[in-house]
Symmetry: C2
Subunit: 137 residues, 2 copies
DNA sequence: CCAATTCCTACTTTTTTAATATGAATTATG
DNA sequence: CATAATTCATATTAAAAAAGTAGGAATTGG
């Protein structure tokens, strides 16, 4: 019931890059060094973020990544949805719902947790993370 | 970021047993059949619940399990703590906290999510699940 | 005694996670 | 144009966790 490294590394990388400023292109090699992460693995994660529309990649010398839009418009939920899939504490399937016990668990637990966590993740933006980060530098 | 079968099956088994009434001893074979779960696997899960003080096992013919205390005094958090360990969305370690980016993530995301989920799981008791279940039978 | 049950634990299988490895494609710069 | 720095793409491997099976010992009511 843990977040995977994809989500964690991805957010760390994004905050690192976003902190360099709007439209600033930052190379992953730098970010990987600062965050002490494997460049190769981080490339994979940023490939997902690019395909998911969170960042834009710029190839070639002096290339790198930048945010695809304003950091206050990218929620943590957007990021995690790309890297981990939609948050949901359990896998749902129609048949399960037939059973009354499972229906009770869904109604009173799983649905509620999903709702709470998702709405929280929607409230937090990359911008809020960057500002908190800068406050602590 | 999913709950494992231990937590899910455990809760299903507990609701099934608790629904038979306070101090009623229910055999796992029956519960496994009703919930369509492997008896052998469910035994392992109930072994954990017994060692965790959630249920009491009664050996021999007409044996089975019953809740160790009132169903309104057992929170879902208690159950999941036994079966899955304490809920925490990421693994913490001292070194991580040194880095400012990770510190920001912990403060604004992980700590908050843990707090929210844990306090919610504390509000929900086995009793509340059983009552919801009975309502839907 | 016997059958139903919990209790115990070792083993196996499957799935997921986390990486590593390798190389192609692109591009600024000297 | 050659080179080096970069993204982009994909295959492979290694390690860990999850899920389940297997088999039998211990207990107990009838």
């Amino acid at each position: 019931m843990k977040l995977s490294t994809k989500g964690r590394y991805g957010l760390r990388g994004l905050v690192d890059i976003a902190a360099y400023g709007e439209d600033e292109i930052v190379s992953l090699a730098q970010t990987a060094r600062r965050q002490k992460l494997s460049l190769n693995y981080l490339e994979q994660v940023f490939g997902m973020l690019r395909r998911g529309g969170i960042v834009i990649g710029v190839k070639g010398v002096n290339g790198g990544f930048k945010l695809a839009c304003d950091m206050d418009e990218i929620t943590v939920r957007d990021v995690l949805e790309v890297l981990e899939g939609e948050f949901s504490i359990v896998d749902r399937n129609e048949e399960d719902r037939q059973d009354s016990v499972q229906a009770a668990l869904e109604t009173l637990l799983w649905d509620e947790i999903d709702r709470k966590v998702n709405s929280f993740l929607e409230e937090r933006t990359l911008g809020s993370l960057v500002r908190e980060y800068r406050r602590n530098i």
